[in-house]
Amino acid sequence: MIELIYIEKEIRKHPRTEEILSRFPKAKVLSCNHYKEIFNPSAQSFRLQKKKPALILARQHGKLIHPIPPSYGVGGAQNYYFSHLLNCLYDCRYCFLQGMYPSAHYLLFLNYEDFAEEIVHASRKHPGEESWFFSGYDCDSLALESVTGFAKHFLPLFRDLPHSWLELRTKSVAIRELMKTEVLGNVVVAFSFTPEEISEQIEHGVPPVSSRIEAMKKLARKGWKLGLRIDPLIDCKDFESRYRRLFQSIFDALQSGSIHSVSLGSFRMPSGFFKKIEKQHPSEPLLAANWESRKGMISYPQETESALRDICKNLLLEHVPRQRLFQCET
């Protein structure tokens, strides 16, 4: 799977580096001074690299956790995101990462202990308030678990932070670590969905909807809290019936009680990112939809956006109480 691994000299002897290297004995290993030598240069093709991404092992410096955009939360008072990994195993045509990063290589920051320290520090800054930590903004939280050991490292941390919450956001079915870990009441495993017909067209490499529902079912049976992320909403033929079928399949498989929260998000992307992605995929039908530019963001026309959101909101309210439904808006 990984044929080439770049490693920053500084972390060549890090135990996590050794552990990862042992999983890829055939990979060619190259050293670099800083990950930016590989990841940052311009004039790289994200699209071509996506066909054969390399792994970059690095240390992240500076601020490691960041506040999330307002209205992106699911009820918490303090909300942060952090990114131990940049880029994703999957190739979703709507993903902003294609427009944000010059490279599609997986960039893994191995200094988990530093991330953990900042999480603990932030948690203690607001005693009595719930702090949320979202891990899947710049990657899929679980898809590369067998390489990163991310959940394995961070779940125990949250066992000791009962007033803080961790969201693992994923489209994967890589739940082995969760299945062998004692359930934590302050961790939400949030699955993102679009209807199967849409997923097949634009979410390349993502496991089928049915497999993801099956994974959710297993987690729910074990007692993990689940999240449902219907984000982004994609306008399509038979929109209502497709989303109705999707929600029906999910809630047929799961008790409403195992769903901690559901969030709905409209498609929105900074114009600059959108243009970059359009250049990479000039014949992609999704990118040739009826888009509109509002305040520097590309989204569906206001009217369409509200209609899609209202349809889904009403469909979801047939299954979950209003207080568990959240809307992400920009």
């Binding site: 044929e3 080439l4 770049y6 060619k28 190259l30 670099c32 001074n33 030598e37 590989i38 240069p41 004039a43 790289q44 093709s45 699209r47 071509l48 690299q49 066909k51 054969k52 390399a54 490279s103 290589h105 017909e197 849409i198 067209q201 634009i202 994609i234 306008d235 399509c236 033929k237 990479q280 000039p282 014949s283 992609e284 039908p285 999704l286 990118l287 040739a288 939809a289 009826n290």
Partner: protein, 267 residues
Amino acid sequence: MNFVIAFQAEAKPIIEALQLSKTDDRLFPCYQNERHRLVISGLGKVRTRKAVEHLLSQGLKKNSCWLNVGIAGHGSLEVGNAFLAAKIQDEVDGGCFFPPLVHPTNLPPSTLISCEQPSTAYLPDCGYDMEGHAFYGALLSETLREFVQVVKIVSDNPKSPINEITPAKATSMIETHVTSVLELTGEMEKSRAEILPSEEVGQIHQSLLRYHHFSVTRSHQLYDLTRHVFAHQIDPRELTDKVRFAKDGRDAITTVENWLKGKRQLR
């Protein structure tokens, strides 16, 4: 596809395999056919950079592919083995390039150190040449990094010294790997074709421009609309009719935009 090669003896197998003809360039010996150009740069950084600039000055297409091929020393590989440069380091200033290795190939990756003078130092897992770094550096702002690659064939190593190399040996070493080299260039060209805008879209767009006067902005808008028509697999003849029967350029854009509105949903 553009080849930059230091010596005639190294270039010979590629010239023959691709049936390239000598051009009448005076600055550098150059060879070409319809799809390939090859320049014999001579030894070292300065001549390599100038050879690249020489080819660039001939007005190449956007995002062209480039390959530097030649012989090199190596600290670990056996003489006669080929490798693809995955890290190209300048021996003098230590600066590195990391060409993204995205094309399917049977050539193993290796570090390559580009020296000022022929080197007899052989670090393990490192190749040694005199051109790779200058070649890559000269193309940084000219094309995508994926489309600049360096292939070397090991001519000397700690067991087999550099002074035993002859032009005939160099030719024979490169000849052994011509198939792998051309497979790689084929893959590079395939990748290039994959990311270039569709020629069909360009042709239809050009044909539409004949019907009315379009300002530069409207011409871009029309290009995007044409691209969208193809993305949604709509018969372009319908688009042609909409444009042809519009009053003027402005009306053509509005008409096509309105017509497309109901056809842009994902299937």
